[in-house]
Subunit: 336 residues, 2 copies
């Protein structure tokens, strides 16, 4: 099926570009609450499921052993901008587990956030590449290394599909989402760990379970709530300054959880409604995934909810040009 | 109509994202040579028509008066990366016309090219914004100021829809493309000049005329060929290091002309075939417009043409992750 147009980008009086996609809103029993487009086609979840991938960090006892609080757990679920606080926290976590940042296998890169990149040029030579601890996924990788350290597993090679760390995450992902992983549709993520394609409906069901605990063993339900609460309590550590995830969760003030992924994937949960959300933009564009996430959240909350006003700036976002002129809009257009 | 999928982005064994779009290939008589998707819907041409917008620079006599050669004319048609050579050339051109870079009304910005941005941090304070002469459109704006200077028009306000410079370009654009401009579908470009939506078929026809001179008055035909030749002779000044336009024209060695625009628009010409090309990615993504441009060029050239091998690296381009691993491909999939 051809997915519907869910976002329009207009310039002056005319639509200039459009984004198609699919959105699944599910409850913890796996019942569809709201759906747009094809939500059963397998999709690589990429970084949008980092909170599920962080469950072993808590379930293994590693988080408690190393004294990890909300900031540390939020970072373990993050795609951060590489700001100084993110990098310092990853280093601190690794140190507590008895390792250095040299253990990280995600590869280094300059921040993809403009302001942070400019700041990084005051720290790293411009003809170099910042170290792996600056990688937007370093928090997740730090969580992997800490889990390995606490459980007596050699972290070396932890990005490999056959390493104990990834095999365990593979099992946890299938249990939480309810979708079986197919080795034939496994890709390699930007940070080099495996990513298995599953339907958006399964990802959304997984986050409904993470948010409510329904359908999870008691210990896992506790771990899941602890992770989502950590992200909602410390949203800066989950993304960074002016980032959508951080601002969306800051707006939500404990009522909204969301995590972005590459190629236009986004997962979220609204605990008070007992629902999980998963969406994918067909063309992989972040401007569209953010507009869609804000719009579906607005659709699910009551019309008179105080959060509606805050969401509106993302569902119909102004575009300004180099002179600061208002030249267009990015507008979510979910069908009624 | 729903445009066809023309580019697939795969990760490992699976397609992860897709890009839809339209492509028009036309001759100078306005006859369709090849077509995909809806090529009659109006599209903002954005920066893809800078070579047409530069015609008055030559036709007014300004280019000759100020001694502009291929490098200067290529820069006047460019969306450059803001490398030192681009900025120095824009300054030199303005100086020859008796003006300084303070006349530019495009607004300043940091380079959107990663390597150039890092280099710019050695020149400009990181808490500032580089000046307008660093704007990727500063070459085009410099051409506007030089045209005004030579014709005795006050350049001030030259970005306005009602300024002599823009009114003249408005006329030239309609004459070359054959498409009437509708004031109701005029938007403001990133660099603040007006952009009028016209069909891809008209843009492609315009570039077939630019390349062949067919359908243009003799003086305009000469000016058009001089501009396209300048870009093909000095492709670095049209874009920059490792940029698609520069590398595509370097590969073509005088046989291929191409110019990118924002939101996934691309125009090109293959003079020896007498055709112009115009395309738009529905979702505005550059990775797709580049793959589509390479693919349609490959389709138009003979199968045994020596350029085919060079084009293949863009029609099926590898994606590498932060560790340099080959994780996917961006592949043009034009229907047969």
């Amino acid at each position: 099926m051809t997915n519907p147009i869910l976002v329009e980008v207009s310039r002056g009086p005319k639509v200039e570009s459009v984004h198609r996609g699919a959105i699944a809103v599910m409850d913890a029993q796996g019942k569809s609450v709201l759906s747009f487009g094809d939500t059963e086609a397998p999709v690589f979840p990429r970084s949008a499921v980092k909170a599920i991938q962080a469950l072993p960090l808590i379930e293994s006892g590693a988080a408690d052993a190393y004294g990890f609080g909300d900031k540390e757990l939020s970072l373990a679920c993050s795609s951060h901008s590489g700001e100084d606080e993110h990098v310092a926290m990853a280093r601190s976590m690794l140190k507590r587990a008895g390792f250095s940042e040299d253990m990280l296998e995600c590869g280094g890169h300059w921040s993809t956030n403009h302001r942070t990149l400019l700041h990084q040029t005051t720290i790293y030579p411009i003809n170099s590449t910042p170290p792996a601890v600056c990688n937007n996924c370093s928090g997740k990788h730090t969580g992997f290394v800490c889990t390995a350290a606490h459980t007596g597993v050699d972290p070396k090679g932890y990005i490999g599909r056959d390493h104990t760390i990834q095999k365990n995450i593979n099992t946890v992902m299938q249990e939480v989402t309810g979708a079986a992983h197919d080795e034939d549709i496994c890709g390699t993520d930007g940070c080099s760990i495996p990513t298995y394609a599953v339907p958006l409906s399964a990802m959304a069901t997984g986050f409904a379970r993470m948010a409510t605990g329904v359908g999870l063993p008691p210990e896992r339900a506790t771990a899941a709530k602890r992770l989502l609460n950590a992200c909602m309590n410390e949203p800066f550590y989950m993304a960074g300054t002016k980032r959508f995830c951080t601002e969306y969760m800051t707006l939500g003030a404990g009522r909204l959880f969301a995590k972005t992924g590459a190629e236009g994937v986004f997962c979220a949960a609204i605990p008070e409604l007992g629902v999980g959300i998963a969406l994918k933009v067909d063309d992989g564009t972040t401007r569209a995934s953010e507009a869609m996430m804000a719009a579906v959240t607005a659709r699910l909350l009551p019309a008179d909810d105080p959060l509606q006003q805050g969401l509106a700036r993302w569902t119909d976002k102004r575009m300004r040009n180099w002179n600061g002129l208002d030249v267009g809009r990015v507008t979510a257009t979910l069908p009624l």
